[in-house]
Symmetry: C2
């Protein structure tokens, strides 16, 4: 007589394929959460629903993600990774323009609006603020920083410029209009962000 299984996942695991590796399970969950958040936002995101969709136990989910916000942020980061990827084969101004347009499009989806809500909630919830930085913003910042550093090494950005500051003057400026919508995010606005920074706004001598 065999001992009964204690694996809470057993009932939903596809039969005949054996146990999925943890990293595969994790990737599957993130993909499912990412799709859900992009399409619907986070209002309908529950551990119960994700457990059902991804075929894992709620215990497993809680082990990896301490809160709904953390789960949403991790899923969202992976869901937008390809859309927001940089292209180091084109010149940096063209790459930034293109990426900023993609970014604005993503931010107009239910997922993007959910991200703004999480930024909002994180002003009042320190745990969520830590999760936001750890699972979303610091990773996005790093990707932008790497692209800008490459451009600086290529001579497309002047030596001595602190490229960290550019992240705030490009994407930060967009977040400003999204979070406090006195003015709209338009294609012209996105292009002007890049042009102002590269060309400078002082009169040409």
């Amino acid at each position: 007589m065999t001992t009964p299984t204690t694996d809470a996942d057993a009932g939903t695991r596809p039969r005949g394929r054996g146990r999925r590796r943890a990293d595969e399970v994790r990737a599957d969950v993130l993909a499912a959460v990412g799709r859900l958040v992009l399409d619907e936002g986070i209002a309908g995101l529950t551990f119960e629903r994700v457990a059902r969709i991804a075929g894992v136990s709620k215990t497993t989910l809680y082990k990896w993600w301490p809160s709904r916000g953390a789960l949403a942020l991790d899923g969202y980061f992976h869901a937008v990774e390809r859309t927001l990827a940089f292209d180091a084969t084109v010149d940096v101004r063209a790459d930034l323009r293109h990426q900023l347009h993609s970014f604005a499009e993503v931010m107009a989806t239910p997922g993007g609006r959910a991200l703004l809500q999480l930024i909002g909630e994180s002003q009042l919830d320190e745990n969520l603020a830590v999760a936001y930085r750890a699972l979303y913003s610091s990773g996005r910042r790093l990707l932008a920083h790497d692209r800008l550093t490459l451009a600086q090494q290529n001579g497309e950005i002047r030596a001595g410029v602190d490229v960290h500051v550019l992240v705030d003057q490009l994407w930060g400026a967009v977040y400003h209009r999204l979070l406090i919508p006195d003015e709209p995010v338009t294609p012209e606005f996105l292009d002007a962000l890049v042009d102002n920074l590269f060309d400078g706004i002082a009169p040409k001598k």
Copy 2:
């Protein structure tokens, strides 16, 4: 026999000075709220307390400000107006640097931190979002816009630059670091915001 007064303010109105004019009462309330918000934030801000401090009825307060958030924002706007004033007698780069340093200092007070919380709450509360823009951000934007437009008319900013965008690339960039604090707001950061924009970050030809 005289009819009893029905003025709820009568008990607290200074005797012998007669009825205060509405605009004076309003200015007194805003001054009291502004001091309170700057010193303490909004956790302890209640209509009851403001009514007591400013010597007006709660009915009067509710007539002018529909919510605690609206009252806080209106008071805060007036409290920081002088600190955040521009100085059109100096060149625009020096003025912006100075103003951005003052802005960062104000944002580090309990009042500034309360403002970030209100931005946060306004992501989930449309009424508060409308009040935020009406009573705070649109007014601040207008002041910045006017200063930048003057600089453009003076030839300090190139013709053709949309100065609306600069508001997001200066103060918006600071809000970005305050709301999502992956990187700190330092004096060097504030100066770099101005320098990057005016000088441009492309290599000099």
